[in-house]
């Protein structure tokens, strides 16, 4: 079983639109949405949820105001600027409070409070789902607003997708990855069979592709590159493919700039489902070239 991941570096280059088409073109795949904090693949695949689980990870501190002595030791020790003074409503005393949006759950305040006034509860950071779609099973997730540990949730989604592929004897796991190069992206690509980077011929797209190729090189993962909207700057599209080759990646085709992409999205369809078009031909050609490349990699 192979696991291929679609990433982009820069956001908004067309990762999810292309992945939705690939989902329609793949014949025996488990699909996974690894962009857990801004997941969109379900908007096209319209999943019917058959299993739903909570995602718990880490802890979060909260100070019981009535037990707080107001000594401020917690605020002095917190390295995340997550604790501030406030006024206790019952007696107007100065006490301390945790800003949940800044707490990283390290527990320093918990272990060092002289009054044991800090609770440290397990956090529910999101939920994950196994669903049926018209193009096969989908494992997807929803990170709760502003939550941490998105990397762990991405990891969990991939693990569940691989388990499902084994159970159902499917030979491919296709993952829609997150943008960027940080924690969730690293979680999306470590140990994968290969990566497709979707980029665009803009100065940002080229710049971010350079960083992502360094990352896939760092993890030694076979990498294909697709230039989306190539015709908004054909000359830069050429340069991007040359640079990709120089970095050890393989260009697998180009997709044109076409409003049909937005139109398909508005109908809840993948581009290749929305009728014949030159855009759909581009996407099919990329899928075929990518899969040929994928066959050759170990």
């Amino acid at each position: 079983m192979k696991e291929w991941v679609v990433i982009s570096g820069k956001g908004g280059t067309g990762k999810t639109s292309l992945t939705a088409s690939f989902a329609a073109l793949a014949t025996n795949a488990v699909l996974a949405d690894g962009d857990v904090d801004a997941a969109d693949l379900h908007l096209i695949l319209a999943p019917e949820i058959r299993r739903r689980e909570e995602f718990r990870s880490g802890h979060r501190a909260s100070i019981r105001a009535e037990a707080c002595l107001g000594c401020g030791r917690c605020a002095a020790l917190c390295r995340f600027e997550a604790i501030a003074a406030t006024t206790r409503p019952s007696d107007a005393a100065r006490v301390f409070t945790v800003d949940p949006s800044a707490c990283e759950g390290c527990g320093v305040c918990v272990w060092n409070c002289p009054a044991q006034a800090v609770d440290f509860n397990e956090r529910t950071c999101g939920e994950w789902f196994v669903s049926d779609t018209r193009h096969g099973p989908l494992v997807h997730a929803r990170l709760y607003p502003g939550a941490e540990n998105s990397g762990k949730l991405v990891h969990l989604v991939r693990e569940q997708a691989r388990n499902l592929a084994n159970q159902e004897h499917r030979d491919l796991v296709l993952v829609d990855g997150p943008p960027g190069t940080g924690c969730p992206v690293i979680a999306a690509l470590t140990g994968a069979s290969g990566v497709l980077v979707v980029t665009e011929p803009t100065v940002s797209g080229a710049h971010d592709l350079g960083r992502v190729l360094e990352l896939t090189g760092h993890f030694n993962i076979p990498t294909a590159v697709c230039v989306n909207k190539w015709d908004i700057h054909p000359e830069l599209a050429d340069r991007i493919e040359t640079a990709a080759r120089a970095a050890g990646a393989v260009p697998v085709g180009r997709v044109r700039y076409d409003k049909a992409a937005t139109a398909a999205q508005r109908q809840g369809l993948a581009v290749v489902e929305a009728g014949a078009s030159p855009l759909a031909d581009d996407v099919r050609a990329v899928w075929k070239t990518w899969m040929d490349f994928a066959q050759e990699t170990p």
């Binding site: 969109d40 949006s101 830069l236």
Partner: protein, 282 residues
């Protein structure tokens, strides 16, 4: 207001035009005779520099303090491993540290009964600062392969000069890097596009940011007559600050790394008006 405001530009969905809005807003502020600072907090993929082409005058390495265990002093009591919430210390005969998992909270050094742990910085990226014409500039660049971005985002924000309007270019998404960027801002501009993906991720971003108590306004980029974002703003009582029309010439100008004002002068007024609308909200 004595102190100049901090405005974060965020989006939920990537590629909706955050950086385009942030850099043109910076340029428009100069027309309003305001001093302005552009702080690129999208440390995984900082792009503002490609358009502003700043002169970088200083570069500082940013690190996380990670534990180093003095084996001679260590009594192998295991308290450091027990207290670490991030599994960054394994209890073997002597503690084994996994620096890339460490958040730098200092719990292990505090708990060690014999003072065998001291902390040394582990580099995660750099903060570069300088200026692009009259725009003060700073950006963070996360090292490749580095998962931990929050300390670098905080270091970029620490470059803030209270006398200038600060524009924070936020990372995409709705997870902790966005929260760390927006925290403490006076106003957030959310840039979206009128598509199902754009609206869905906008609503996730609003759900993330509203509980933080920061006032929000919406910019619709690539507007093409689809009114789904207008309807959403009305239902949720969010101000629609600007509509930027869909225009292939804009995509091509952006592709080349040029500023719109130079090629498409009618865009200057759009961003000046956007600033006026933001000021009304402050």
């Amino acid at each position: 207001m004595n102190r100049s405001p901090v405005i974060a530009i965020a989006s939920g969905k990537g590629g909706t035009g955050k950086t385009t809005v942030a850099i043109h807003l910076a340029a428009a502020l100069l027309f309003h005779k305001r001093s302005v600072q552009y702080l690129d907090c999208d440390v995984e993929e900082p792009n503002g520099h490609l358009f502003l082409k700043p002169r970088i005058v200083s570069s500082e390495t940013v690190g996380i303090p990670v534990p180093a265990v003095d084996a001679a002093t260590c009594t192998s009591c295991g308290k450091c491993a027990e207290v670490c919430e991030f599994n960054a210390i394994a209890r073997l005969k002597k503690p084994l540290v996994f620096p890339e998992l460490c958040h730098g909270c200092g719990a292990c050094a505090l708990v060690c009964p014999v003072g065998a742990i001291h902390e040394t910085p582990r580099a995660i990226g750099v903060v570069e600062s300088g200026h692009a014409g009259s725009i003060a500039f700073a950006q963070g660049r996360l090292n490749i392969g580095e998962p931990m971005s929050l300390p670098l985002i905080r270091a970029v924000k620490a470059k803030r000069n209270p006398e200038a309007v600060a524009l924070l270019d936020a990372p995409p998404g709705t997870a902790c890097p966005v929260v760390a960027t927006v925290r403490g801002a006076d106003f957030v501009v959310l840039v979206t596009e009128p598509t199902p993906f754009g609206l869905h991720d906008l609503s996730l971003a609003v759900d993330t940011l509203l509980p933080m108590g920061v006032p929000l306004g919406i910019v619709v980029n690539r507007a093409d007559g689809d009114l789904r974002v207008h309807d959403y703003c009305r239902e949720h009582h969010l101000p629609l600050l600007a509509e930027l029309p869909d225009d292939r010439r804009v995509a091509e100008t952006y592709a080349r790394g040029e500023l719109l004002f130079d090629c498409l002068p009618e865009w200057r007024e759009r961003f000046e008006n956007l600033w006026t609308r933001i000021e009304e909200q402050l």
